[in-house]
């Protein structure tokens, strides 16, 4: 792939510029509530950490199928630095959180900001350590992989609890953290699906077609497996809340399924994240098609995006224009990072 490339300095400048633009749009230009920025953050954080977690998990279990994809997937690690900077742009909007005017020990704005920034930075640093070690098949790759996975789990749990669950205080769901890091993992596998299509020519040039096809089929099977696992987690959370029928719990569901268009969005999430991948990936032929893997990955990303809107919208207004602009800016930066992988991964 040719085109614009980034280095650490230009990446930092671009990140700060996007963060400032997002802040100005949300707080000065439109006096919005930061909903669009939160949706953008919640979506892109899955792609900042999820793909690396996929490689880390594969390295821990010595999975050979990841080999052709490794370079492409690990190339996203610098994006982990973008997230804490963007999060700082969101901080002024914390005042719209239900707990903001009655702060306690845990739900305390200073502690809230500190723990999130620290965790995001630790995750980024560990991702970098792991990516550089793993790409050269270094002896410590499994050790760094374990540390990365631990940081990843902790960070996504805190993101789920802080960024989303605390908006709904006192609503709690103990599964919410696990639900988030599993979704990020799902998004990480889907990134492999996207890269299969984009980089197909290179993959088949570098690896014997049989070897690559096997990896591709494994990628498809993993997507299928995670569609089932996602549904399982979704149902495990939904059923307990619905059956318990406790007002402070069930209101979380009611806000999202009682009225239109939230109801339609809620149903579409199940269709996009479970039904379509589950039914279609049963067919070997579709799993073997790079074009179809791209399609299904985009379907999954659409589902994840809608789900994030569903989380945020009942509490913070999501301005669609701002959402599109911010989403596109961050997405563009993500694409540039992937393009600049040779530099970031120190490849010759």
């Amino acid at each position: 792939m040719n085109g614009a490339k980034l280095n650490w300095r230009t990446l930092l400048i671009a990140t700060v510029v996007i963060a400032v633009v997002a802040y100005l749009m949300e707080n000065v230009l439109l006096a919005a509530q930061g909903g669009a920025l939160l949706v953008t953050l919640l979506f892109w954080v899955t792609l900042a950490h999820g793909p690396i977690a996929v490689v880390a998990a594969a390295d821990i279990v010595s999975g050979k199928w990841i080999q052709p994809y490794k370079r492409e997937i690990l190339s996203v690690y610098p994006f982990g630095l973008v997230i804490p900077v963007l999060f700082l742009a969101f901080v002024p909007n914390l005042k719209y959180y239900i707990w903001y005017h009655d702060q306690g020990v845990w739900l305390n704005s200073t502690f809230f900001i500190t723990r999130n920034v620290v965790l995001l930075l630790i995750t980024f640093l560990l991702a970098r350590k792991f990516a550089l070690e793993s790409i050269k098949e270094g002896p410590k790759k499994s050790t760094y992989a374990v540390w990365y996975v631990l940081a990843y789990v902790a960070t996504h749990t805190i993101i789920a609890f802080d960024w989303v669950m605390s908006m709904e205080y006192p609503w709690i769901s103990t599964l919410f953290g696990a639900y988030f890091f599993v979704e990020a993992f799902y998004a990480g596998i889907a990134f492999g699906g996207v890269m299969t299509f984009i980089n197909y020519a290179n993959f088949t040039k570098e690896y014997p077609i049989k070897v690559f096809k096997k990896s591709q089929m494994d990628m498809g099977t993993l997507l299928f497996g995670f569609s089932v696992f996602w549904a399982y987690q979704f149902y495990s959370q939904y059923l307990v809340i619905w059956y318990g029928n406790i007002p402070e719990e069930v209101s979380f569901l009611a806000r999202r399924v009682a009225t239109s268009p939230m109801r339609e969005f809620a149903y579409s999430v199940i269709v996009l994240l479970f039904l379509i991948p589950f039914v279609t990936l049963l067919f070997r032929k579709l799993k073997g098609s790079p074009g179809y893997l791209l399609f299904i990955s985009l379907i999954i990303y659409t589902g994840l995006l809608i789900e994030r809107v569903l989380y945020v919208e009942p509490h913070l207004t999501v301005n669609p224009i701002l959402a599109i602009v911010e989403f596109a800016l961050v997405g563009g930066l993500f694409a540039l990072i992937v393009q600049s992988r040779r530099l970031f991964l120190k490849l010759s």
Partner: protein, 447 residues
């Protein structure tokens, strides 16, 4: 001799030595089911005695009434339900370990799958006894099944306890089939090597297996489909068991993480039980050559991984109870840590969270004796986990006026001991009747 000729000779030598290796493998594994040694009879005597103690205690309970058990208000679910969940957990992990590792093409699976699947079947047989024991009037057990009747009594389908009946019985059926299908080619080997009535019995059990290409094709297909079917089934079944609790609104029970946490806990406890069973079996049957330290190390990583999921669930449960601001939820978790059952709670943490973390050390992961000890800790810890969930929440729910404590009676302890005896008896009988390692799969691997 030309290079070409040398190549052909080498190939022949390799083929010959491969055949010899496979023959040796078959002999070694079948040697395990030859005439038992005195130590085996001693083991069987102990387990049968334990079973009889349990049976006698149950008979006494039936004759005398449920009053002989320690369960009473407010703790209406005690050791029996703890035992039920513990054994169901062990049961679920066997097939899950075997099926998932099969789908992930993990080679070390072949060293553990036969024992794990056998363990599953025997553990379901054990778990299934506890709802009957807990019923009291066991002769009314059939009331749990929905069937046309004039008694105008219809089971409550909204109750997770009824979901359990269906889930566990379906699971037993699929697990038993999965285990048996995997055994068929090995039973055919036994048919070949045995004589007399044993040959007849194995011939019957081998379902006419000849090992033709077509049979292998069908076998591989059905095995793959059963593995694919068993995996979600296990997830669903243990989730249903977790919902026995989570559907109630009792503090400490009503929590969304229960389903995946129970599933992870089941694999954790099941892996530990596999270690408890396989490590002595490997030594007594001299199978060190086939179940290597490397295999144990890989299995130990699985134990560590699932242990960390369990640890994660403990932390999240506790922290969210504090975070929620719900006084009942918060009080329940504080009570667990410092109340009447603090000892069992902290022992559970030590066994399930702290001890497995030592497996981060490679040297310990590769130490078989250490793994054996760890497996005991985990077994104890996982039993205590179920005890803590079942008992502590009931002992300390919403109304302080209704709080109370529970101590298991001698009858409950005897029945629990009996359940271990029952389970181990079946496992010992299995180890002398059927190959404890999958001969055909290991041969295939050796090719």
């Amino acid at each position: 001799m030309s290079h070409k000729d040398t190549g052909v000779v080498n190939q022949e030598v390799n083929a010959k030595s491969a055949a010899q290796v496979k023959d040796q493998m078959e002999r070694d594994i079948l040697a395990a089911i030859k005439k038992p040694k005195p130590v085996y009879w001693l083991g069987l005597l102990i387990t049968i005695t334990m079973t009889l103690i349990g049976a006698a205690a149950w008979a006494y309970q039936i004759k005398t009434g449920m009053g002989v058990a320690g369960i009473r208000n407010p703790v209406g679910w005690g050791v029996y339900i703890t035992d039920f969940v513990f054994w169901v957990g062990i049961a679920h992990s066997g097939t899950l370990i075997s099926a998932i590792l099969f789908l992930f093409r993990a080679r070390f699976r072949n060293r553990f799958n036969r024992s794990a699947e056998a363990m599953t079947v025997f553990a379901v047989m054990t778990a299934g006894l506890f709802p009957l024991i807990h019923l009291g009037r066991v002769w009314f057990f059939y009331w749990l099944f929905p069937y046309p009747t004039q008694r105008l009594l219809w089971v409550n389908f909204r109750s997770p306890l009824v979901w359990d009946v269906f889930a566990v019985s379906t699971y037993f059926t699929v697990s038993a089939i999965f285990w048996y299908i995997g055994l068929v080619p090995d039973i055919a080997i036994l048919r070949r090597v045995r004589t007399g009535w044993q040959k007849l019995a194995y011939a019957f059990g081998s379902l006419g297996w000849k090992g033709t290409f077509k049979q292998w094709q069908h076998y591989n297909q059905i095995y793959k489909y059963l593995a694919a079917l068993a995996t979600p089934l296990v997830l669903s079944v243990h989730s249903v068991v977790s919902w026995d609790f989570a559907m109630g609104i009792i503090p400490g029970w009503h929590t969304t993480i229960f389903a995946p946490y129970f599933v992870a806990g089941a694999i954790f406890s099941g892996m530990a039980m596999v270690f408890t069973l396989v490590i002595p079996m490997r030594k007594f049957f001299r199978l060190e050559k086939y179940i290597t330290v490397d295999d144990f190390e890989k299995a130990a990583k699985l134990l560590l991984f699932t242990g960390m999921i369990v640890g994660y669930a403990y932390i999240v449960e506790f922290c969210l109870a504090m975070y929620s601001g719900n006084p009942f939820e918060r009080d329940q978790f504080i009570y667990r840590a410092v109340g009447d059952y603090a000892f069992t709670y902290w022992l559970m943490i030590a066994c399930n969270v702290v001890t497995p973390l030592t497996l981060f050390v490679r040297k310990l992961r590769r130490n078989i004796k250490y793994l054996f000890i760890i497996s005991f800790f985990v077994n104890i810890g996982m039993w205590l986990e179920r005890f803590n969930i079942v008992v502590i929440s009931l002992a300390h729910d919403f109304d302080p006026y209704a709080w109370g404590t529970y101590t298991p009676s001698i009858i409950e302890v005897a029945i629990t001991v009996g359940s271990f005896g029952w389970f181990l008896t079946w496992f010992l009988l299995f180890s002398k009747t059927l190959p404890v390692l999958p001969i055909t799969e290991l041969k295939e691997e050796a090719e």
